[in-house]
Amino acid sequence: MTATGTITLESVTKHFPGGVVAVDDLSLEVQPGEFMVLVGPSGCGKTTALRMVAGLEPVTEGQIRINDRVVTRLPPRDRDIAMVFQNYALYAHMTVRNNMAFGLKMARMPKDEIRRRVDEAAVMLGLTELLNRKPRQLSGGQRQRVAMGRAIVREPSAFLMDEPLSNLDAKLRVEMRGEIIRVQRRIAAPTLYVTHDQTEAMTMGDRVAILRDGLLQQLGTPDQVYDRPVNAFVAGFIGSPSMNLLPAGLEADGDGCAISVGGARLAAPRLLEQRPALRGYLGKPVTLGIRPEDFGTDGDGGEIDVTVARLESLGSELVAYLAPAGMAADTLLTARLERRAALTEGSATRVNVDVERLYFFDPESGAALT
């Protein structure tokens, strides 16, 4: 199928009675065939935004277009969309076949066309033997596939998914991730996928939209939001284990500058050239961000004295929780180190970071300083 169709949100806002602003001036456009993930912590507005696109929630302000057709005020049935719910939302009193055929029957499609589409979708999802069963006779993974089948047969202009994998166990989740992507590529409709799991977002999305408290923080490809987070929230949200964020200070040091964090002083001669915005922060506090995988024990780079608080061996690598010298008592750095790092709990040691891979954020606004 050729990719067609877009989902456009323009300045979409949602006010709930009582003053809660669930979604604040959200604008984004899903391209033809694109898989876009809306991600963020609970309560960030992602589900509300999705439901507004579906027509299940009235829009307070703004406009929603599907395929450039304004749908903001239309009921769900007139929007030509399909949705997969977190709880599958299957029709308990109907067989799998009838569940999938329901939407087509509502559209008064001829019976043989319905049958053809349902059979095709069943093959695509491995449901052919289950067509005559009822939902209560199916496992979680099977139910999820029926939910997808129900959405696929409609051949909609837009696909919406509301945390469809949250109710599955970890192993099934990984398996279904692949299924969903595979199916989506076949259908090639623009897809808006909501999740709170940043791993899902990073592994599945063509682009990722990060929301917090109703506001869009950043919209970009997974690489973009990982390498160039636009603020401290995004930096801390994306990536697992999350980025370490610490208070630090910038001092002038000859032509360049030095970063003081805890008791350590890291020389960064070229920093001001690479990140001009930091010039305004000399002598002022900043928030320093260090990704766990950017720590090393080979002495190459700026060094920080730490005490090893705890070690977790994951087999292929080591996760170390390190208490840096000179910082507040319960500050812990998370570091991902190679197995042969040979550390022991309770011992004092030194880790090093590549100064050029550090992130800087304004301590009040959280904005990235580049």
Partner: protein, 289 residues
């Protein structure tokens, strides 16, 4: 709690419950199979020595004064009263279910303005005991704004039952609607249904077990209604079995076999219904507490 002392106590308790619940019913059955003489015999005959269906004959077929020891019955009257009760139960329950399902859905799901007020109003009328209304009800039914008097008609009674029982049914269904997942209905809206279609095709089937339980409770309630039909019926046009049976209670002496036979026949339909839908009914009553 598994020591022998507790086990025995529990066994005794269970037996007590069974005897207490079934006892009076079994006494009624046994009395209905006795004759007046056997009933008055001393020492007590818990089970008649010569069981007979005479009482049932007399009840259903009619008697003359002497034979039945003071109670006069006419052929077919009792049967007619059972028929009335059945019609009243079935028709009232049907209407009540329709009204209550729609109202429960509207208040519990549709989140429409004043929904809370409507619910409060309905629940409020449940608390007000019916006797406040019963007297004026007579007047209202006797002289309705349109049409003839509704006193002593099955239609009038049905209307009253609908008005008095719909709030309870709505409440019971409302507690269920509130706990049902909303996603299947939303999926139906996306699949192309209007609100109405989604309600009929998806929500109502979703509610089916609750509806069945409420239906049973309503049928039992209407079948057991006494005060309202007592005041609003006069002839066999609409007289239900609950009112009819009190006519066999004599002012001075009572023909117990006939009375018991009437009682047994009157309790068979509700007993069967309660036994058949036992699980659903207990589930709903317990669940909405």
């Amino acid at each position: 709690m598994t020591s022998p002392g507790w086990r025995i106590a529990k066994l005794v308790a269970v037996l007590a419950i069974i005897v207490w619940s079934l006892g009076p019913i079994l006494i009624g059955v046994s009395t209905s199979l006795s004759t007046q003489r056997e009933v008055n015999a001393i020492p007590t005959r818990w089970v008649p020595h010569h069981p007979t269906l005479q009482a049932y004959h007399d009840l259903l077929g009619g008697t003359s004064n002497q034979r039945a020891g003071g109670t006069v019955t006419e052929a077919g009257t009792f049967t007619r009263s059972i028929y009335n009760s059945a019609i009243l139960s079935a028709v009232s329950t049907s209407f009540i279910l329709i009204f209550a399902t729609m109202a429960a859905y509207a208040v519990g799901r549709l989140r429409f303005r004043l929904g809370g007020a409507v619910l409060a109003l309905l629940v409020g009328t449940m608390i007000v005991p019916i006797f406040v209304v019963v007297v004026s009800l007579f007047k209202v039914l006797a002289e309705p704004p349109v049409g003839p008097s509704l006193i002593d008609t099955k239609g009038g009674l049905v209307l009253v039952f609908i008005a008095t029982l719909t709030p309870l049914a709505t409440w019971l269904l409302y507690t269920q609607v509130r706990e049902m997942p909303t996603e299947p209905e939303e999926a139906a809206l996306i699949d192309g249904c209007s609100r109405w279609k989604a309600f009929v095709r998806i929500v109502v089937p979703q509610m089916s077990s609750g509806i069945a339980a409420v239906a049973a409770i309503m049928m039992l309630s209407v079948w057991g209604e006494f005060l309202i039909p007592l005041l609003l019926t006069q002839t066999m046009n609409a007289k239900p079995v609950t009112v009819q049976i009190t006519e066999y209670v004599g002012k001075y002496t009572t023909n117990y076999p006939i009375l018991a036979a009437a009682g047994v026949l009157a309790l068979i339909p509700p007993a069967l219904l309660a036994l058949a839908l036992n699980k659903r009914i207990t589930g709903m009553l317990a669940g909405s507490s």
